[in-house]
Symmetry: C2
Subunit: 133 residues, 2 copies
């Protein structure tokens, strides 16, 4: 992961998109609702998923559990129309701002966001509390 200073500068301050996929060929992607910025989900993309996302304007991911390319919404109807794609400083993370289709949700459990439980921590014990959605 260590880079020469000129590589680092180009990566951080350049205009070239050079996504740094991990050894597993994947890059992490956080997806928010463009309407209000709510974090909907976190998923992964391989090179093909990222390319298809650009080419089609619809979010594609790589499912690590199914080990397959996944156009979000194909079964749920929650197609994500991509409004903006951002990359982070060292180009190893993607941020998608999307307009979710179908019922407007993103989580396979039926909730709007995958982050529907808050951690309540007290006296060294963590407990999950369900958020209103």
């Amino acid at each position: 992961m260590s880079l020469a200073p000129e590589q680092k500068h180009e990566l951080e301050e350049g205009q070239a998109l050079t996504p740094r996929f991990g050894v597993d060929g994947l890059i992490v992607c956080v997806t928010t609702d463009v309407k209000d910025g709510a974090v909907l989900m976190l998923a992964y993309m391989n090179e093909e998923a990222l390319r298809l996302t650009f080419e089609t304007g619809v979010a594609h991911y790589w499912s690590r559990s199914r080990q397959s390319l996944w156009r979000k919404g194909d079964t749920s109807g929650q197609i994500q129309t991509v409004k903006e794609v951002l990359v982070d400083c060292d180009q190893d993370a993607i941020l998608l701002k999307v307009e979710p289709g179908g019922d407007g949700g993103a989580c396979h459990t039926g909730r709007r966001s995958c982050f529907y439980r808050r951690v309540a921590y007290a006296d060294g014990m963590a407990r999950l509390v369900f958020e209103e959605s």
Copy 2:
């Protein structure tokens, strides 16, 4: 990554925090500004970083490039006071909502967010455009 149905149900609908660290011992964490929900950064935590985050109320991460525990802000002053911790459906991602200290930023480049470049895609070519911050 495949789970028995009852494990999956407990993971998704239970009140027990059972973070699923990867084979590298890390879990991915997206960090937002509690003030307006802006995505500030994406980083990783090992078990110790997560525990220290709960115990101290200040965000701790694991630096993959330095291979060391990292209390965000120790050198930059951008200490992140944790206001809320959420976990996703399958408990392999964390969402931190924080109040950033110091100059209110999170990125080592001096910008507020690490996601300061938008991808402009046209005719099969991607180019990075700097966002106003």
